[in-house]
């Protein structure tokens, strides 16, 4: 579960990125967060990942009070999440298999379990045959699927996708969101930030709209409007 209680974020330069945000996302939900550029979406993600701390308010994610985490607790907290970024953030010097296995290695999983789990996840995202490929041999859509596989491999309760379709073709974008949709069906909470309203409209999920640092709309029937 994600809970933002009266969260504000003011950067050192005085920019007020989020203003008194109250938000609750239950386990198993699929939520889109939409908003124009500069609305505060990225700050929201940074706070969720504990890349930034709020100026005031409390953030709870997966049972952790994120703003009170000590430095040494941050890695453990992040392992409870799966994160997908717009720019994929894959390690270019590693192949597909190693990029996915890396998320398991940091959690001290045995080599035997890694050998069992990674091929399974790669087959889920349709990349079993490309396990030995380097990142520069893959298309944008394929790279995003590798990122998704890496996010999934630890079996997280929550997947945060920050503009995951921002760098890929529209037809592939649908495929990625559809894949997230399938993952959501087995109980994983999905929080996807996007500015592609057309894409959001194709799925019948809750949509939270942020504008100028505040939540201005929170609708379960956004697609029908």
């Amino acid at each position: 579960m994600i809970r933002f209680s009266n969260v504000s974020k003011i950067y050192d330069n005085g920019t007020e990125a989020l203003k008194n945000v109250d938000l609750e996302i239950a386990d198993g939900e699929f939520v889109f967060i939409v908003g124009s550029s500069g609305a505060g979406k990225s700050t929201l993600i940074k706070l969720l990942l504990r890349e930034e701390v709020p100026s005031s308010g409390t953030i709870e994610v997966n049972g952790y009070t994120v703003n009170r985490l000590k430095r040494r607790q941050i890695p453990v907290f992040r392992r409870s999440l799966g994160v997908v970024f717009q720019d994929f953030r894959l390690i270019p010097t590693m192949n597909v298999y190693d990029n996915v296995a890396f998320a398991l290695r940091v959690t001290n999983v045995s080599t035997r379990d890694i050998r069992r789990r990674v091929p399974y996840i790669l087959s889920l995202v349709g990349l079993a045959s490309k396990a030995r490929c380097k990142m520069n041999e893959l298309s944008g859509g394929e790279q995003q699927r590798v990122a998704l596989a890496r996010a999934l491999v630890n079996n997280p309760k929550l997947i945060i996708a920050d503009e995951p379709t921002g760098n890929i073709d529209p037809e592939l974008s649908y495929e990625i969101v559809d894949l997230l949709n399938e993952i959501n069906k087995v109980g994983t909470t999905i929080l996807m930030v996007t500015h592609e309203h057309d894409l959001v409209a194709q799925f019948n999920h809750r949509v939270i709209t942020i504008d100028n640092g505040s939540v201005v709309d929170d609708a379960a029937d956004w697609g029908q409007r």
Partner: protein
């Protein structure tokens, strides 16, 4: 940490060297150059010190015994010289030996003018070499105070000059090595900084998948150790080859007059172990601490 994770991190460090081979080569090149410069400066300093030390040992002083000195006086002086800490070596010169040596440098006509029992003219003496010429005045005083010693003749001016040169060589050598060390550290720090900066995205990704700081640092540290060690080996071999060649060349080409002087040049084998240990320790330490310090900056995510 599991054994398999540890092995993985070691392998990752080694793999990173190959994956970032151009940067690794550049780092090795810079490390080797710096080690060669420092090693050459150290060898130069050791040799100059050795040469000045040789000049030092060639400086003799002569202690003349009183005319009345007998065998017991000689053995008394001998014991006193043996007990003096600054006396490196000494040799007793009898009246006959003194006459013989004198006759080699004095024209024969002058020798003939001396009366019979010529050797009685020459007093018994000891030729003495010192360990540390800078203490020559103190040692002269000590020897003069030995009962039976009449007079001590010592090249005090030469001693002062040699001591001054020795001190200058030591200070200059130390200064050059310190300056080179400082320059080396700045260059290496920048090289590591650039290497880590090139991989900041990689570090960032590791942080977001939940890697601990130790897990991120380990491959960089392994990389630092390996690059430092390889550089130390390369620098050592190059310095060995270069120095040995130069030493042979100088000793073969040198005129006979300075040959005995050049015999005092230090062979590489004499300093090899210490030099390699310093290179390896220095290279590894710079690699490890440099990686740890500069990776730290990118861990604050």
């Amino acid at each position: 940490m599991r054994g398999s994770s540890f092995t993985y991190l070691i392998k990752e460090g080694a793999r990173n060297i190959w994956v970032n081979r151009m940067m690794s080569l550049a780092s090795i090149g810079i490390l080797v150059s710096c080690m060669l410069l420092i090693g050459s400066a150290i060898l130069l300093s050791i040799n100059l010190n050795g040469m000045v030390g040789y000049v030092e040992t060639q400086n003799e002083m002569v202690a003349f015994l009183e005319d009345s000195a007998d065998d017991s006086t000689v053995s008394l002086v001998q014991t006193a010289l043996e007990n003096n800490e600054n006396v490196d070596s000494f040799a007793f010169v009898s009246r006959e030996e003194a006459l013989e040596q004198y006759s080699e440098i004095v024209p024969e006509s002058l020798m003939q003018s001396l009366e019979e029992d010529k050797e009685e003219v020459f007093p018994l003496s000891f030729r003495i070499t010192l360990k540390d010429l800078s203490k020559i005045d103190q040692t002269i005083g000590e020897i003069e105070s030995i009962p039976g010693i009449m007079q001590v003749n010592a090249p005090t001016n030469v001693a002062e000059t040699v001591t001054g040169i020795k001190r200058a060589v030591y200070i200059c050598g130390l200064g050059i090595v310190v300056i080179l060390l400082a320059v080396t550290l700045i260059i290496i720090a920048n090289t590591i900084k650039v290497t880590v900066f090139n991989r900041r995205k990689e570090i960032n990704i590791m942080k977001f998948v939940g890697a601990t700081d130790l897990f991120i640092r380990m491959p960089f540290v392994v990389e630092g150790v390996l690059l430092g060690f390889v550089s130390a080996c390369v620098a050592y071999l190059l310095l060995w080859g270069g120095y040995s060649y130069l030493l042979n060349y100088v000793q073969e080409q040198a005129p006979v007059t300075v040959a005995s002087f050049l015999k005092n040049l230090v062979p590489f084998s004499q300093v090899a172990k210490q030099l390699f240990a310093s290179f390896a320790a220095g290279g590894i330490m710079v690699g490890v601490f440099g990686s740890m310090i500069f990776v730290r900056k990118h861990l604050k995510v």
